[in-house]
Symmetry: C2
Subunit: 178 residues, 2 copies
Amino acid sequence: MSAESVRKMDKANDAYASAHSPSPSFKDFPDQKAVLVLTCLDPRCEPHHFWDLPADMGPGIMRNAGGRVTEDVLRSIRVISTIMSYGRNTVGAVVIVHHTDCGMINFSDDFVKGKLKERHPGHDQEIDEMFIGEIKDLEKSLKEDVALIRADPFLPKDLEVLAFEYDVFTGKAREVKV
Amino acid sequence: MSAESVRKMDKANDAYASAHSPSPSFKDFPDQKAVLVLTCLDPRCEPHHFWDLPADMGPGIMRNAGGRVTEDVLRSIRVISTIMSYGRNTVGAVVIVHHTDCGMINFSDDFVKGKLKERHPGHDQEIDEMFIGEIKDLEKSLKEDVALIRADPFLPKDLEVLAFEYDVFTGKAREVKV
């Protein structure tokens, strides 16, 4: 990222800040259960766009490669479950979105591990043991990830977990019953 | 999340899809190094807004509680580093953004762990060993997280890692030299 790119970012931010009204402070958040979305880091898969989500007071959005459930995702959901309304409320729903033409569909665990081994020799065993998160089948990956959240002992028993498939070509987000 | 909420989402998505042009497919991504942003899941901290980032072909955005570097974050960066241009390119820069009034500033590891133990008794040791990710000092947390990425043996040696502090009240994103 060049110094020029950073200057462009600063310029865009100056314009944004001059028109920005202060976001609500945490202490003024409404007393309600949190909703969290988990999806891919891919710039084509942006819940704010395809669900027209509000800025500022919409759901929290977790993003990683593929929108896969990992220990870090569980950490985030657990943290949110404890801090809403200073511990008096919790998380109500998690919505997982996987998408078509995802990097995790186009590339297998083997491809990624092969490249890592090639570029960073001498660490084959550590690389072999890495969780990569390939998606062979969108409904199957959603089912696995929903199950992982439902199985977590550190979340509310009545936590709703929903699954959606987002198509980057049609723009459609379709609920998948799992 | 009620059935009514899901219907609202579907309705918003219908409107979006009817106006949506297909996003580029992965095979048509430009042959260039990827840029990734890591930030908090907080809806007030949205890089698309405060940097006016383009949809579709902007940076990949990773988000979790606090924007902290975890194994999952390293997984995501490593994956992206291997799949750009089908293995012929890599990741060029990671930009980490932590923000004011973050949940990880307002609540300590002890608070979160205390709540988890209270709500889910019988798992104290496992909870004690969890990484929560509290932020006591924004510059310090950014420094730690930048160092974690720089130290990862599975990323390009010339990977640029930048740090920003976003103020949810002023809307300003300020680069922090670490």
